[in-house]
């Protein structure tokens, strides 16, 4: 027997969460047949099962684009600092791709590395993630190459599987997921779901091994030639976590703010002296790939990539990481890959 929920009941659930004051997010339709994860005001706005991949990731809900760390104010010469209000919302996200859910879990050790980043952690604790098993995939997907898959439950509190006819099978994995769907589902003998299958596109382990030995290597200039350095790949990436700390306001009152940043910009590592360790795009590309596939695994035992394919999907030159990884994996096998 399986637990199922009808689409109508799902909408009722979403609307009741919103009326309880919870923040509910999920895929919404944008312009040009594109979809994005965003906060919704009613279930009607959300497409739990959109026909194409959302452009962004749910990173926005646990690690917002901008987040105030604290504010400062001068009263004459007296300066006071005030903490940003604690995050007290409860967030429930629906229609999340399994690869996006995985990302939150991959980021956990970083934000707990010796110093706990309560900003990330409090949002993480207060967020329930309901994934939708992928029924369709596209050319850019490569989650299976990283050991995940269209039905991966890592980082998810519950998962919906599309049974067709407006019915979803509900699988719950955590207490948060169980309590969300408690009393909302019905028993059914409909079983199974045709989640998509996806062939493994490269050997991720071989990539990591190759990167350890090839910091200085022609691959970086070869693969970065078509990179324009816009940084879009890092903003749509569910695991890219690099940030800047900036000042908003003026010298009398303002806030210190954490904002997304990207390793693809030259200023990212530009020293005050004028020296820049990563002055070329190839060095910045190298850092991105090395960080994801070698440095992070060496530090935390996890590859900083989920195989979602967003970076290639949104790249104006269709680069992103996958073509580079396939190139490296072929090199690692001793093949001469086509660039």
């Amino acid at each position: 027997m399986t637990e199922i929920i009808q689409e109508k009941a799902l909408h009722v659930l979403i609307d009741s969460l919103i009326s309880e004051g919870k923040t509910v997010g999920g895929p919404v339709a944008g312009t040009n047949h594109r979809y994005m994860y965003a906060k919704v005001q009613s279930a009607d706005e959300m497409l739990v099962n959109p026909p194409a991949m959302p452009m962004n990731s749910i990173k926005e809900f646990v690690f917002p684009r901008r987040e105030t760390l604290y504010t400062f104010r001068y009263d004459g010469k007296d300066l006071s600092l005030t903490d940003a209000p604690a995050f007290e919302e409860t967030q429930v996200l629906f229609g999340v791709r399994p690869c996006d859910a995985v990302a939150n879990q991959i980021l956990d050790p970083l934000f707990a590395w010796d110093y706990n980043d309560k900003f990330f952690q409090s949002r993480r604790e207060r967020t329930t993630v309901v994934t939708l098993a992928c029924k369709t995939i596209d050319d850019h997907c490569f989650c299976t190459s990283l050991g995940f898959g269209p039905e991966s439950s890592i980082g998810a509190d519950a998962m919906l599987l599309d049974l067709g006819n407006g019915e979803y099978e509900v699988r719950t994995f955590t207490d948060k997921g169980k309590s969300l769907f408690a009393g909302k589902t019905e028993q059914s003998d409909k079983a199974g779901c045709a989640a998509a299958t996806l062939e493994i596109k490269f050997d991720a382990q071989a990539v990591t091994e190759y990167l350890r030995e090839h910091f200085d290597d022609p691959i970086w200039s070869e693969t970065s030639l078509r990179c324009v350095g816009c940084g879009a790949c890092t903003y749509v990436c569910p695991t890219c976590h690099c940030f800047d700390i900036i000042e908003e306001g003026n010298s009398n009152a303002g806030s210190r703010v954490k904002t997304w940043d990207t390793c693809q910009f030259a200023l990212f590592t530009h020293h005050a002296s004028g020296h820049n360790p990563r002055r070329d795009q190839s060095q910045r590309q190298r850092n991105r790939i090395q960080h994801k596939f070698r440095i992070y695994p060496d530090k935390f035992g996890l590859i900083l990539c989920t195989g979602c394919g967003n970076c290639t999907r949104e790249c104006s030159t269709s680069l992103g990481v996958r073509p580079v990884l396939q190139y490296i994996a072929a090199k690692a096998k001793g093949l001469q890959p086509a660039s």
Binding site: L69, Y70, F72, Y74, K77, L79, L81, D83, A84, P85, A86, L110, F111, W113, D114, Y115, N116, D117, K118, F119, S122, F215, D216, H241, C242, F243, D244, I245, I246, E247, G249, N250, S251, N252, G254, R256, K258, D261, C263, F268, T269, H270, H271, A272, S273, H275, P277, R278, Q283, N287, Q290, H291, R294, I295, D298, K299
Partner: protein, 278 residues
């Protein structure tokens, strides 16, 4: 929110000294007496210093860890934050986060001769170690300080150089690049590596701390190597651009090493394992 790792402590500026035309050193102490009591650091560590409304910059803590009533840092006026830091006066309030990073292994250095080699604005990260060693004088052997700058006007902590030279068994060799001397300059004229070569140093039982511009480091290392100094006994302090200092913002890494957490202090032996990413 409690435990906000990004929120600085408020510090009272107690003294500002102009060291060169564009370098100042600043003494600060915690406004919160309780925090001051809890605070400790190790020489070689760094902090992030805030001018509110402008931003944060990263500097070494250049005072000795034995000085409990205040900490010091030194900066060059070069950007948005340091332009404002330049205008700070005693009595003003700035922000401080730290201390962060690893430190000089002062215990492992005990019983050894110490060779300090610095250039220009890189004196502050050496100064903290010099004072620490002088305050624990019996634990260390001969101390040699080779410090150079482009011109006499670019030397920082000039008065302290004289003071250090008064200590027993301490040799201070200050030098300026050819053309950088003034008529009353009594120090040496020449580049740091040359002066280091002529110095009477014995690398047999010594460690060296070499901090300065890349060109100075590049030519000083072979001098030490010729004298038989092992890579594992040569230390340096790296600087890389930082925002958080906490291992999270993702920009200060040299290959797999985060300068803010696994640095800033590295031995030459470790440095040779680092990729060319700094």
């Amino acid at each position: 929110m409690t435990d906000n790792i990004y929120k600085p402590d408020l510090m009272e500026v107690i003294d500002v000294t102009q060291q060169t035309v564009d370098v100042k050193s600043v003494k600060i102490r915690f406004r919160d007496a309780e925090r001051a009591k809890d605070f400790s650091f190790r020489v070689g560590q760094f902090g992030l210093y805030s001018v509110f409304g402008y931003g944060e910059s990263t500097f070494n803590i250049c005072s000795s860890s034995n000085w409990h009533d205040h900490i010091e840092f030194c900066f060059r006026k070069t950007g948005r934050v340091t332009e404002q830091m330049w205008k700070v006066n005693p009595g003003d309030t700035i922000g401080f986060r730290g201390s962060y990073g690893n430190s000089y292994p002062t215990q492992a250095w005990e019983g050894k001769d110490l060779i300090f080699v610095g250039g220009g604005i890189a004196m502050p990260p050496i100064r903290c170690a010099i004072w620490f060693a002088l305050e624990n004088r019996e634990k260390y052997g001969k101390i040699t300080i080779v410090y150079g700058a482009r011109t006499v006007g670019d030397l920082v902590y000039k008065n302290e150089l004289k003071e250090w030279a008064k200590h027993p068994d301490v040799e201070v060799l200050s030098t300026v690049d050819p053309g950088g001397e003034t008529p009353d300059w009594s120090g040496k004229v020449g580049f740091v590596p040359t002066v280091l070569k002529e110095a009477n140093i014995d690398c047999g039982n010594a460690v060296a701390l070499v901090v300065g511009p890349p060109i100075m480091i590049k030519f000083s290392l072979p001098v030490l190597a010729e004298q038989g100094m092992k890579d594992a006994n040569i230390y340096t302090s790296l600087e890389n651009r930082m925002k958080c200092g906490l291992g999270k913002c993702g920009r200060c890494n040299c290959g797999p090493f985060y300068v803010c957490k696994e640095g800033p202090v590295f031995t030459l032996e470790q440095l040779k394992l680092l990729p060319d990413d700094y």
